[in-house]
Symmetry: C2
Subunit: 196 residues, 2 copies
DNA sequence: CAGAATGTCTAGCAGTGCTAGAATCTGCTC
DNA sequence: GAGCAGATTCTAGCACTGCTAGACATTCTG
């Protein structure tokens, strides 16, 4: 009885992952408008209702993909920052911003789930996903701990790179100059070594 | 025959406006997900197919609302800039940014049509709506004409305020500090009077 | 092996965007 | 005014969407 339910729970978790992965892959291949419950069910070789026994509707599935995305993005930003030449100074900010835009450009479907599509992830609340907070903290960590406006700075930088990502993604500003924009932004916003 | 078709064209134009206005009002009142072709047709007291004789589907209607929005935004930004104390210097940029965020906050449905929802407006092409280009130019005009990076600066500023608008709109960053963010951004990005 | 519990599927609902073809109305000619 | 082309508008319906109730299998227990 115990062993049985353990196995069942394991199978359930596997299928959970299977569904999330299939949704992400389908979205990456054909865009989110192609991700219907029927096609998704088909792809995982189950009928529609099983999706609803795992997730709170379609939004729940999108939210799960988004949540994964926040974890991946957080890891990517952390790697970038820790690999940056000067972690406390100005260099790390540029590296993190580039990593951010890289993520948005190479994984547009996931990025869309995280920031554009309606999800039932709660923000600015107690149950805000840790990984999402972690993404933000990577920006914060690029500023001096004694900077009493580092949170505000991080919000501004995050807004800017997010804006660049979506405006470039929808062709409203040319994709080509993304690097220059980041460099310009970072040169103006990062902590100046001279400014104590 | 000529007078008749003229009147018809006038009626047609009136109805065109009626539909766009109704769509905008419905979206402002209940959100875009409540704007269905049936409800919209009901509201303008016509049947569904007349919508399709005026617009290229629902996306066409959203696009029309967005286009109106770009015109209004352009006008609002221009007024703000021309009313700013120091038009060529640093002050105008802050005024324009504030006006931008004001628009996004007070008219979220229109802003969503302009920047979030899928529309069939073409960007970065020859038939890019003039009013959209005009919005961008208002940001450009906040920088010195002899600044060879004013276009790039404008793109960065625009990205930043757009990012702030959507991140605050979806509760990812607190709405309350919006003013401080803009002020901080502007203080770092605007032309410095000293830098020739 | 019978019974209970768990899981899965079939079939269907109400709603969506969109459209073909019928019905109506309009302005013109006699 | 009567009748008639032509434009216009509507009714009815298609194929699809997300979602779910209730029938059907399957699996485990005693």
């Amino acid at each position: 009885m115990n062993a049985v339910s353990e196995r069942r729970e394991r199978e359930r978790a596997d299928r959970h992952r299977l569904i999330v992965t299939a949704a992400r892959e389908l979205a990456e291949a054909e865009g989110w408008e192609a991700v219907t419950t029927r096609r998704l069910a088909d792809r995982v070789e189950y009928s529609q209702p099983v999706l609803y026994s795992h997730f709170n509707g379609k939004n729940g599935i999108v939210s799960a993909v988004a949540l994964d995305g926040f974890e991946q993005l957080a890891a990517q930003l952390r790697d970038a920052r820790e690999g940056a030449p000067d972690q406390a100074g100005g260099k790390s900010l540029g590296t993190v911003c580039h990593a951010y835009l890289d993520f948005a450009r190479t994984r547009p479907a996931v990025y869309q789930a995280m920031f554009v599509l309606p999800t039932d992830l709660k923000f600015a609340s107690d149950e805000t996903p840790k990984s999402m907070r972690a993404c933000f903290d990577e920006f914060v960590a690029c500023f001096r701990p004694d900077d009493d406006r580092r949170e505000l700075s991080a919000e501004v930088v995050w807004s800017a790179v997010h804006g660049m990502a979506v405006l470039a993604g929808s062709g409203r500003i040319p994709q080509a100059l993304q690097e220059e924009r980041v460099d310009f932004l970072v040169s103006r916003l990062s902590d100046k070594p001279g400014t104590s």
